[in-house]
Every structure is written in structure tokens, then in C-alpha cells.
């Protein structure tokens, strides 16, 4: 059968042609050495030859990785293949569920540690010493490198649900952890009676957008925030972020493909706060220039492997202050200024994303404005707190942005040294009702 031989010969030729053409093209074409947006890292650089690196195997391994990393249109190819893979199954009622079996179980109030927990009904609000001393104080870890994903950025959520093109973390909070959070703030207030202490307990998006079939099965963030409120010393200013955001939930106050709220959501929370501070309330139209970019995919796609989100990228909007300010950025380990910027608060490589404000979690930020209110604020935060600094800058003279996970110093000494008048705890409910609350305990409950 000659024609069968012909077919085989043709196919072998095609295979060889594909191999050689692709191989030669990849050798000759200009390599993509730019920041990999979808992976939030720089690609492997072309290795420099040395005999020692050759004998260790470093040179050859890095060459192999460089070959794949720097393929042109890598991000586009990745998105294309993710789009195909998003059809590997079907979803019921447009709901995609990702429930890992590593999720914490908060079915009782004992939480994770074995510290005896007092009955909440016996705890008198405002009495700092009545709160449990947490035994699992967390020690600070290394801040993420600028432009790289934050390996500490995981929350103890019950899983991820995508509903109506919006990915959300499922929430369940531990009462024991909330008590630890409240105890830390109460101790701070007790130690610094003249300080304005604010508590901003930021709900994650599942508080507003979960389908009713699921909402009843998971924690009530509004109720838990109120639980915290009832534990706090009356002098502490509890910010009702839930209500402030609830009024605007039809607006894009949360990112759909990222686990954070949007800068618009942060604005509404800060607007609510500033109305209580007596300082200038930021005006989104007058004080800020709106910027936006389409086709953005956030952390749920990049780090949480929710491939189906590639079909629904979002428009990302941020608000650049029109007023002047100076930014100083401190390395957490040396507490020395390593970067300064004038009238610039947003830094990114190629595409904007949530962590671009003040370099995200990488540095301790200090913003000095031209306000003359006599008030300065230290924001102790997790990554949710990153988004509020541009809006606080409308009214405060100085804003310090400190990540509770990376700050290694003495928080009380810091407050004293810099003449801080206001301290704001800005973190999401998954922090305030989960194990990360230990960082607050470490900083303040002493």
C-alpha cells in the first residue's frame, strides 16, 4: 500500500518540521525577559557559564528554565490553555466550588489552641484582663520581595466559591480568636488612654455575594463583627464597615478575581471613618484622578488556581491623589528608608493590581501630607489595609502603614517615638477571627 507509506512519510515530515521549526524559532526569536504579569515574577535570566555552575548542574538547569520561562507570548499562551482547561467540567447554577480538605474547622469555639476559653457571656466588655492570653503568639516573618507574590498571604478560609463570575472566600470565624483580637486592642487602649484606637473589621466579599444556598452554612461576618464590637472597650472606636459597604454593594466594591476588596470599597470604609474623625473627608471626584485598566486577573486566578476565571477578567480601577505628599518606604528588617517617592503611591511592573499601592506588603510605608490637622495615624494591617492609605492621606498629616505579619519592633515604642495620635487596625475578618490574630496579640497584648 504505497499511499499508506506516503501518508506515513508525510506525517513524519510534518512532525520533524514542527520540531525543527519550533526549535529554531525559539532559539532565534527575541526572548521575553519582561516581568511575568500572570506569575508576578521576573523570568529566569540567561545563565552565565562557569565550570563550577556546570558541575553543580546549576547552569544546565537554569538554561532549561530560561528556555521555557522566556518563550514569547508566554502569558497569552498560558491564558489560552487555561481557557481550554476551564471546560474540563461543568458547573451547576454557575457555581464553581473549591473546598480543600485542609480547611480549618471552627465548629466549636475552642479554635485551634488548647488554651481554656472563658464563656463569652462571663466576659465583661472593656476589661482587658478578663480576656484570654493567647499562647500562640506569632513571630514576625520576612516581608515579601517587591513585585513578588506574598507567600504569607493565605487566609484560613473554608474554600473558594465562584458565583456569577465572582470568586469569594468562604468564611467561618472562631469566637476564641475574636476574643484575642479584642483583648489586644483593649490592652492597647488601657496602656495608651489618650490614643484614638480604631477597629476596622473588613468583611470578605462572601459577606455580600454568596448565594443563599451557601450563605446559611457559613459564618455571619456581620454578626461576628458585632461580637467583636461588644468585646471592645467603649473608648475604642468600632467602625461599622459592613453597613458602610452594604449600601454600595451593587457597585464594584470588591474585586471579582482577587480575594481583596477594591479601592472603591476601601474608599467607602474610609469615608465612613473620616466622618467620625473630624478631619477632612476624602472626595473621590475632587481629590482623586480615576484610572482604570481592563483585562485584569487577580489572586484567585494567579495564586488560588481558579482557572475558570480566565474567561471573566475584570476592570481594575484605582484613585490617584491630586494633592501632594511624600512617601518613604522602610525595610522591615533594618527599619531604614530604602525608597522615597514624591506624589506617587502606586507602583507596578506592567499591569496594575491590588498590591501596587505603597509596594503592597513589602515595605513599611510612611506618607507625609501637607495637612495641618495635628493628627497622625498608624495603620496596623494585613493586605486589606493597603488600600486605605490613599484616602486617609486626605485628612491626616502623616500615615504609617505597618504590616502586622512583618513588623519586628516594639509597637508601643513606635507609637511613642512618632507621636502617633490615632491607631487603626485594618484587617479582614479572616484575620481577626483566625490564627493571624496572634500577630495583634504579639504587638499589643503585653
Amino acid at each position: 500500500m504505497k499511499y499508506v507509506k506516503g501518508i506515513k512519510l508525510f506525517f513524519v515530515f510534518v512532525f520533524a518540521a514542527v520540531l525543527i521549526t519550533v526549535g529554531v524559532t525559539l532559539c532565534l526569536v527575541k526572548r521575553n525577559t519582561e516581568y511575568l504579569e500572570d506569575e508576578k515574577r521576573m523570568p529566569e535570566s540567561c545563565p552565565v557559564f562557569s565550570w563550577s555552575s556546570l558541575f553543580k548542574g546549576d547552569f544546565t538547569e537554569r538554561l532549561r528554565v530560561y528556555y521555557s520561562d522566556t518563550i514569547p507570548y508566554r502569558s497569552s499562551i498560558k491564558r489560552f490553555s487555561d481557557r481550554i482547561l476551564s471546560y474540563k467540567g461543568i458547573s451547576i447554577d454557575e457555581i464553581y466550588i473549591d473546598i480543600p480538605n485542609t480547611r480549618p474547622t471552627f465548629n466549636d469555639d475552642a479554635g485551634f489552641d488548647s488554651t481554656p476559653i472563658p464563656d463569652a457571656s462571663t466576659v465583661t466588655p472593656g476589661t482587658a484582663t478578663a480576656m484570654p492570653e493567647s499562647t500562640n503568639s506569632a513571630t514576625p516573618t520576612k516581608a515579601p520581595e517587591e513585585g513578588k507574590p506574598n507567600v504569607n498571604e493565605f487566609y484560613e478560609s473554608q474554600g473558594i466559591v465562584t458565583y456569577q463570575k465572582r470568586a469569594m472566600e468562604l468564611y467561618w470565624g472562631s469566637k476564641a480568636k475574636m476574643q484575642v483580637y479584642a483583648a489586644a486592642l483593649n490592652k492597647l487602649q488601657a496602656n495608651k488612654p489618650n490614643l484614638n484606637v480604631w477597629s476596622m473589621n473588613i468583611p470578605v466579599s462572601s459577606a455580600f455575594y454568596l448565594p443563599s444556598s451557601l450563605a446559611s452554612k457559613y459564618g455571619d461576618q456581620k454578626a461576628d463583627a458585632n461580637y467583636i464590637k461588644n468585646l471592645l472597650n467603649r473608648q475604642i472606636k468600632f467602625l461599622d464597615v459592613y453597613s458602610a459597604l452594604d449600601k454600595h454593594k451593587t457597585e464594584p466594591i470588591y474585586l471579582r478575581t482577587d480575594h481583596h476588596w477594591s479601592y472603591l470599597g476601601a474608599y467607602y470604609a474610609v469615608e465612613n471613618m473620616m466622618q467620625q474623625t473630624g478631619l477632612k473627608v476624602p472626595n473621590l471626584t475632587k481629590d482623586y484622578t480615576h484610572k482604570s485598566e481592563d483585562g485584569i486577573l487577580g489572586s484567585f486566578y494567579l495564586y488560588f488556581d481558579q482557572k475558570h476565571l480566565v474567561k471573566w477578567p475584570e476592570t481594575f480601577t484605582w484613585y490617584v491623589p491630586k494633592f501632594s505628599f511624600i512617601g518613604e518606604y522602610y525595610d522591615y528588617s533594618t527599619m531604614k528608608v530604602i525608597k522615597t517617592a514624591k506624589n506617587q503611591m502606586f507602583f507596578y511592573y506592567t499591569k496594575p493590581f491590588y498590591d501596587m499601592v505603597n509596594y503592597g506588603d513589602s515595605y513599611l510605608a510612611h506618607i507625609t501630607t501637607s495637612n495641618q490637622s495635628g493628627r497622625s495615624i498608624a495603620v496596623f494591617k494585613d493586605s486589606f489595609g493597603n488600600a486605605i492609605a490613599p484616602f486617609l492621606a486626605a485628612g491626616y498629616d502623616e500615615i504609617w502603614v505597618i504590616d502586622i505579619r512583618y513588623y519586628q519592633g516594639d509597637a508601643y515604642a513606635f507609637i511613642e517615638e512618632h507621636g502617633i495620635t490615632d491607631v487603626l487596625m485594618a484587617s479582614c475578618m479572616l484575620t481577626n477571627a483566625g490564627n493571624k490574630v496572634s500577630y495583634y496579640n504579639n504587638l499589643f497584648n503585653r
Binding site: L19, T60, D98
Partner: protein, 467 residues
């Protein structure tokens, strides 16, 4: 370096193929292959090349000596020395820590040895060399006189690092004389592409799914989730291993070598004995030919041999007790089936035999997965539904449906559909041509799709799976 890597497929392989086909002389072709094999083997750890070279030289000398004194006491002594050394190497690199840990836990003391790098593929090439030495001693094959030919046999890159366990009797003659026909090229290309598709498209995706269920606290799994995760894990192991074997066989064909089949659609089996005649065939046949008749159990030789084979089968897969249990687990069922006899087995309805085999295989892979025996116990409880998690929860169905097409395609691919279609089409020359075109298009599609997926292979995302 692996076969499922863009650098291998589009940089390394084309260069080697070009040089290989440009050179007409078989002797120089072999040197091209040796050179390529050394680059492939030493890619991530060049120091191991020294080990591979010295190991090959030592066993080449052993082979010559055994061949020289075959049938005499000296030959026997040298054989014993060579086997002791080869098994000793394997034991030292792969099993010493496991052994010391076990002895330590029995004697309530601890031994420690510094950890050293495991030579890549040691489990495969030691078995290949052992089979050569025994075949020389039993005069089944001629002693290899040329060191370069022997070096090629040991280091041949398609099968050195991850199998199959290719014997000298299979490829020895081809080392010295081989002709590559068009059929070899076509079959090699198709086979490689199919293997690549199995590995990259199915196995890697199934692995991610497996990890989601089994990677954390298994005590939370419902009954349906447990069985589903076991199914996808079993499919993952099959496609990962058979995919790599297919790529190895395909590459061998491209260079003119015909390796034996290593997997023959094992899930169509109707007995566990049949399963092991279809799964990792090169390993099973090695133990059958070289270990089963080791005369150390006297009258209980038959059962002793069976016990030894399955103990070694388990141990070969890993230095951990769960692998030992896994091997003996299958050995037990093969023992029962041998007691029952083939005739009685055939009388059992086919559907019952299928259910029986699939259940045993799936549970076997649960043992294979969990190196922590306590977690294994927990998981087995989840399978039986005695953990109180129920048959399913509100999410179980949704999560399974999110991957339903992947799993269904994987299940379909375990059946010999391609073989069936090819057989039917071979009856008419027109259909032969059509099947040829179909295979070609399919292979090309797999190559290109796998290439797309491999672009992301060097991405090591910080997956926030620990919510």
C-alpha cells in the same frame, strides 16, 4: 531533564535526531547516542555521570569475566560478587535509611547517616544490568565484547531514568546492527506524542485534582469524595507511568530500538493476576524470570517465591512500609486466585470479576499513596463511611462535575479503543489509510496541545492551597 519538557522536545531532541540521521555509520551513531545519553543523565547533576560511567565499566568487566568462566565455579563466584555489588548499590542508595529507621524503631535506638544524592534511575538500570549478568551466566545472551556498546546499553537515555526495564536480550543485537524503516519513524513519532499527551494532558491535571482531595486532612472526606479521589489517583498513576513508558518506547523506535510493551491496558483485566500481566510488564517479567525460582524456600518454594516476588515488587516502588504492604496485598490476591484456579475463576460472571478487580486495584492504590499508615487507616475509614462525614455533602457533586470531562476522558483512554479501531480498519486498504491519517492528526494534536500546557510548566505558583 524529562521527556515532558519544552527544552527536551524542541532543543535537545531535534539536535540529537539530526546528528543521528546524518551519520551513516552505526558505530558513530552509537557514540552520538552515548553522548546524548550522558547529557540527558547528567543534566541536573553532572557528578552522577562519573558514577554511571564507573558502574558501567565495573559491570562490563563482570560480564566479560562471567562469560569467560561461564559454567565454572569462578564464574559463579564472580556472578555472586557482581549481584551482591549491584544489589548493594541499590540498597545503599535507596534503602539504607529505611532499613536503619526500621531497625532503630525495633531496638528503640536511632542511627543516622548523612543523606546522599540518589543516582537517577538506579532502580531501573541496576535491574537491567542484573538481567544482563544473569543472562550471560545462563548463556541466554552472548557477552558484550565492546565497552562502548555496553555503555550504550546501560545509559541509553530513553529507558535509563524511568524505564521500562529493557533487557540486553531485547536490544543487544540492535546495538550492533539496526535499520530504521519508515514504519519505525512513524510508530515512534505517534507513540511519543501519545505518551506526551497522557503525561501532560491527563496525568498532570489528574495529579492536581488528587492533591486537592488527598493532600491535606483526609478525615474530612465523605464516602463519595474518598472513592472519587481514589479513582483519579489511580488514573493519575497509570497515565503518568504508562505515558512515560510510551514516550520511552517511541523514542527507542526513532533510534531503531524496539522495546517491549510495559503497559497493556491493565484496567480491562478480570483478575489480579491478569492485571499484573498488563501493568508494569517489564518489572513483573523481571521478577518472574529472575526471582521466582530462587531456591531458598525448599518445599515451600512455590509460595515462598510468590512471597518474595511481591515483597520485592512492593519494596522496589519505594522505601516505605506502605509499599511493602502494597506488594504483599497484591501477592495475597494472586495467591488466592492461584488456589481457586483459572477454570473456577472463569466461571464467575464477568461483571463480578470486573467489580472485584477494580475494587482491589483501587484499594491497592490507596495503600500505595499513603506512606503514613495512620492516614491510610483514616482514609480507609472514609471509604467505608465510618467517619461520620456521610456519603456526600452539598459540595461533593459540584466539585466532581467541575472535572467530569477530564475524568471521563481519562476513563475512556484506559480502554483499548485505538487498538480496536485499528483492527477493524485493517480489513480494508482504504480504511488503513484513513486510520493512518487519523492517528497522525491525533498525534499532532496531542503534541501541540501538550506543548501549550508545557509553556506554564516552569511556573511555580505560590498556590494558596492552605486556606
Amino acid at each position: 531533564m524529562n521527556f515532558n519538557d519544552l527544552f527536551f522536545i524542541y532543543a535537545f531532541l531535534p539536535v540529537i535526531l539530526i546528528f543521528y540521521y546524518l551519520i551513516p555509520n552505526i558505530h558513530y551513531k552509537n557514540w552520538v547516542l552515548i553522548f546524548a545519553s550522558f547529557i540527558f543523565y547528567g543534566w541536573a547533576n553532572p557528578v552522577m555521570l562519573l558514577f554511571l560511567f564507573c558502574y558501567s565499566l565495573l559491570n562490563y568487566v563482570f560480564g566479560r569475566l562471567i562469560g569467560r568462566w561461564c559454567g565454572k565455579t569462578a564464574g559463579k563466584v564472580i556472578l555472586i560478587c557482581s549481584l551482591t555489588l549491584n544489589i548493594g548499590f541499590l540498597f545503599l542508595f535507596k534503602y539504607i535509611h529505611f532499613f536503619l529507621q526500621t531497625v532503630g524503631s525495633i531496638c528503640s535506638c536511632s542511627f543516622s547517616l548523612p543523606k546522599f544524592a540518589l543516582p537517577l534511575g538506579i532502580s531501573f538500570f541496576t535491574f537491567r544490568v542484573i538481567s544482563y549478568l544473569l543472562d550471560v551466566y545462563w548463556e541466554k545472551v552472548e557477552t558484550e565484547q565492546s565497552f562502548s556498546a555496553f555503555l550504550l546499553f546501560v545509559s541509553l537515555f530513553p529507558c535509563t531514568t524511568a524505564g521500562p526495564i529493557v533487557r540486553y536480550s531485547t536490544i543487544g543485537p540492535s546495538i550492533h546492527e539496526r535499520k530504521i524503516q519508515l514504519d519505525d519513524l512513524f510508530a515512534g513519532v505517534v507513540r511519543f506524542s501519545i505518551g506526551l499527551g497522557k503525561k501532560v494532558i491527563l496525568a498532570d491535571l489528574l495529579y492536581q485534582l488528587t492533591d486537592q482531595y488527598l493532600g491535606g486532612d483526609v478525615h474530612l472526606l465523605t464516602v463519595s469524595e474518598s472513592w472519587f479521589s481514589l479513582l483519579i489517583y489511580t488514573l493519575y498513576v497509570y497515565f503518568d507511568f504508562s505515558g512515560y513508558s510510551d514516550m520511552a518506547i517511541g523514542l527507542g523506535r526513532l533510534f531503531g530500538f524496539r522495546f517491549e510493551e510495559n503497559f497493556r491496558y491493565p484496567f480491562v483485566c478480570t483478575s489480579i493476576s491478569e492485571f499484573w500481566q498488563r501493568w508494569h510488564i517489564s518489572l513483573g517479567s523481571f521478577f518472574r524470570d529472575y526471582l521466582l525460582y530462587v531456591p531458598i524456600f525448599g518445599r515451600m518454594r512455590r509460595y515462598g517465591g510468590l512471597f518474595l516476588v511481591w515483597l520485592c515488587t512492593g519494596l522496589w516502588h519505594g522505601a516505605s512500609w506502605n509499599y511493602v504492604i502494597w506488594g504483599l496485598y497484591f501477592g495475597l490476591f494472586i495467591f488466592f486466585e492461584s488456589l481457586l484456579g483459572k477454570k473456577r475463576m472463569k466461571k464467575i460472571p464477568v461483571i463480578i470479576r470486573h467489580i472485584y478487580t477494580k475494587l482491589i486495584i483501587l484499594i491497592g492504590f490507596a495503600i500505595f499513596y499513603f506512606t503514613d499508615l495512620r492516614k491510610l487507616g483514616t482514609f480507609l475509614s472514609c471509604l467505608l463511611g465510618i467517619t461520620g462525614n456521610g456519603f456526600a455533602n452539598e459540595f461533593s457533586g459540584n466539585m466532581m462535575l467541575q472535572n467530569v470531562f477530564l475524568v471521563l476522558i481519562a476513563i475512556v483512554c484506559t480502554f483499548p479503543i485505538g487498538v480496536y479501531i485499528k483492527e477493524k480498519m485493517s480489513r480494508s486498504s482504504v480504511w488503513v489509510g484513513i486510520s493512518c491519517v487519523g492517528m497522525s492528526v491525533w498525534a499532532l494534536f496531542l503534541l501541540l496541545f501538550a506543548t501549550l500546557l508545557l509553556v506554564n510548566a516552569t511556573n511555580q505558583p505560590f498556590l494558596y492551597t492552605q486556606f
